[in-house]
């Protein structure tokens, strides 16, 4: 019985292999070139040192602004913001720390004063937006995705990018609708968390691409 099934399977495989491996492409070279002319120019170097230096400078400035703005408003909110161009894990940690800070109960004095409350939320949201921006610049400085990618990693990247796009849409519509600072702060916090995750996955992808033969 098994032999019969094996024979049938072997015959199936032979039939599949007899199919033409090549099919006429939907269009020729000229049409392909017309459809993709800006994209197929000879590739530039993935990342020049000048770009890396500019990106590092932008990250440092944004981080400094974020830290300074946090120090100015309230002493208890002066959580460390550590951004590093070289190590995305520190980006993830600082985002995580921000998450913990934001979910902690507010000090009684600040909670009792609506103006101080609003300033605190605005400042917190500004800090998170700055962190998101810093991570975005760090991501932009990374080499492009490798030509041959792992499906699992790339799916995670595209999934996070989709979630970030949705988050940006939501933030934009909430701002237009005049949503409260607290709600905007929560969304910024979620966006910063997603950016941190994206940075870590992209970093792993780059390291993997460099180490693979």
């Amino acid at each position: 019985m098994h032999t019969n099934v094996d024979q049938q399977t072997a015959a199936l495989a032979a039939r599949l292999r007899q199919l033409p491996a090549e099919l006429p492409p939907p269009y020729g070279w000229l049409e392909f070139k017309r459809r993709s002319s800006p994209a197929i120019r000879p590739a530039r170097a993935a990342m020049s040192w000048r770009h890396a230096a500019v990106a590092a400078g932008v990250v440092v400035v944004i981080a400094a602004v974020a830290v300074r703005s946090r120090i100015n408003v309230s002493a208890p909110q002066t959580a460390s913001v550590r951004l590093s161009i070289g190590d995305p894990r520190s980006l993830g940690r600082s985002v995580g720390e921000g998450t913990l800070d934001a979910t902690a109960p507010l000090p009684p004095a600040a909670a009792a004063n609506p103006l101080a409350d609003a300033a605190l939320y605005a400042n917190e949201a500004g800090g998170r937006a700055a962190r998101s921006l810093a991570i975005e610049h760090w991501l932009a400085a990374l080499p492009q995705e490798p030509a041959v990618v792992r499906v699992g990693t790339r799916s995670a990247v595209t999934g996070l990018e989709d979630q970030l796009a949705q988050m940006d849409d939501l933030l934009a519509s909430m701002r237009v609708d005049g949503a409260g600072l607290e709600r905007l702060g929560q969304l910024q916090q979620e966006r910063a968390r997603l950016m941190g995750s994206l940075a870590q996955v992209r970093y792993a992808e780059v390291v993997d691409a460099r180490s693979s033969p």
């Binding site: 039939r15 599949l16 033409p20 099919l23 006429p24 994209a39 030509a147 990618v149």
Partner: protein
């Protein structure tokens, strides 16, 4: 006829293509595009989608040509790009949702359009293409990669980001379905001469 993985181009053509030489790039397109489209068409199963994935693969080939280290034939490198692009699509939540909502609409009869022109009146091929199209996208990709492209279960599992048993079970399911297809049945018309 060489398979896509066996197709190679001279080093001199590659070098000129890297500098943007038009004729060299056209020569590479002519060499690999039929194999790329054949592979993508079998894995994607849908004409419009195959066109998109073909465009993406060829685009990436030219954009990343500088990364190709020529340790294997160019076709093998391009094949890996094409397979990755197709499997990413098969794994995407958007695709799964589309399959749920559109059902069988994706399995169009594309093979009837190209077979007479490319291989002559080959009813056997037509029948095998129909059988292949009757499989689920994942099972079709697994059976094609295993039986035709020569991937091992470990390579398929790695490509899908799944376990080896996933690959084996998908292959067994595909074989079973294909065997059923080719068993003589009175309620189905076949183009294969009996």
């Amino acid at each position: 006829m060489a398979t896509l993985a066996q197709i190679d181009v001279p080093a001199e053509v590659l070098a000129r293509a890297r500098t943007g030489d038009e004729a060299a790039r056209a020569a590479i397109y002519a060499a690999v595009s039929p194999g790329v489209f054949g592979l993508v068409r079998r894995l994607a199963g849908n004409r419009a989608l195959a066109d998109d994935l073909f465009q993406e693969t060829m685009l990436m080939l030219y954009q990343r040509l500088a990364e190709f280290r020529a340790e294997a034939p160019l076709g093998a490198w391009v094949r890996q790009i094409a397979v990755t692009r197709c499997l990413m699509y098969l794994r995407s939540p958007w695709h799964r949702a589309r399959l749920l909502t559109r059902g069988e609409e994706d399995s169009d009869d594309w093979y009837e359009a190209y077979l007479p022109a490319t291989t002559g009146p080959n009813a056997e091929c037509l029948d095998v293409e129909r059988a292949l199209a009757s499989l689920s996208p994942t099972a079709r990709a697994v059976v094609w990669l295993f039986e035709v492209e020569g991937y091992s279960h470990e390579e398929i599992a790695r490509s899908f980001g799944r376990s080896v048993s996933f690959s084996k079970s998908q292959l067994a399911r595909a074989h079973s379905r294909l065997r059923e297809w080719f068993e003589p049945r009175v309620d189905r018309q076949t183009c294969t001469p009996m």
